[in-house]
């Protein structure tokens, strides 16, 4: 997942989101050592203090932890990460469903559409 950051919204919030996504998707593996603040900031082309703040927030949420001498790591709590992934996915599914209803579809139509989409996606 690329660092696509808009300068119109809080960069801090976007960073928290993107890093959380990277952990959920497994791009950052449980227990993996994180790059330094500077490296991450350079990679994302953002301010290092803002990156530091985002990492601190993710630590507060338990997704990252710091070992005093050896650096910062991704949480090894796979249950926590899986739970987060599931709740994120649920949220997205709900949003998708509401959007479809707003477009005028019935619940049954949404179900059919989704089944169709799954079949088509699996063929590809």
């Amino acid at each position: 997942m690329a660092w696509e950051i808009s300068s119109e919204r809080s960069v801090y919030l976007q960073l928290v989101d993107i890093i959380r996504q990277k952990i959920m998707s497994g791009e950052y593996q449980p227990g993996q050592r994180m790059a330094s603040v500077r490296e991450l900031a350079a990679d994302a082309a953002v301010n290092p203090n803002t990156m530091q703040r985002a990492l601190a927030e993710l630590e507060r949420q338990g997704l990252l932890y710091t070992q005093r001498t050896s650096g910062r790591f991704v949480s090894e709590d796979k249950g926590l990460i899986a739970g987060l992934r599931l709740s994120g996915a649920k949220q997205r599914a709900k949003e998708f469903y509401c959007e479809m209803i707003q477009m005028g579809l019935s619940a049954e139509e949404v179900r059919q559409l989704l089944n169709q989409a799954i079949t088509e996606a699996e063929k590809e």
Binding site: S7, E8, S10, V11, A41, A45, V46, N49, T50
Partner: protein, 235 residues
Amino acid sequence: MNEERYVVECRGLSKKYKNSMALKQVDLKLERGKIIGLVGPNGSGKTTLIKLLNGLLVPTAGEVLINGTAPGPETKARVSYLPDNNYLSNWMTITQMIDFYGDFYADFHKEKAYAMLESLGLNAKQKFKTMSKGMKEKVQLVLVMSREADLYCLDEPIAGVDPAARDYILRTIISNYAEGATVLISTHLIAEVEKVLDEVVFIRGGEVIRHAEVEEIREKYDRSVDALFREEFKC
């Protein structure tokens, strides 16, 4: 490392050239450990302010302090300055220039300079005479960022390079400034740099009209610093 909170303090700082006031009564404090954008249209006083910080100009009124002292040999040893023009001697090679900087500044790290050159794809044996404008700017940036200063004053560091190289330059700055130092970047290309900034200083007609945290601008006004700048500066 100095313990004071502010690396730069300007009090009632004014600079008058023959018939025009380039800076008018500027009060400005820059904190340590921040990356700060100095933005304004052409002729707004950005370069004048930076030259005052570096002791290349003398104030007409008011004062400017670096680490609590007026610009002089002591402050120049702690400030790394990237001018907005090319100052490299054509007959020199990059290696010779690195040696020159190493002799001049006690806080210059040669290994760091060579590592940066490599990552920017520059050949140390090349003479400046044979380099493009963009390459020379990169070399100047390498020289400036290889020092372990308290303050880096970068006057238009990305103006002369192509858009693809701009990100590279910004990354070089982020990766290499000394821990706890402040980086002052003057530019008229706000959109390109705003994501790396902590704070922004808007300057117009020699006056500081806004000094704010960039995240605060995004949260409070729901827009980019670039958009706010365009609004405040529209003629």
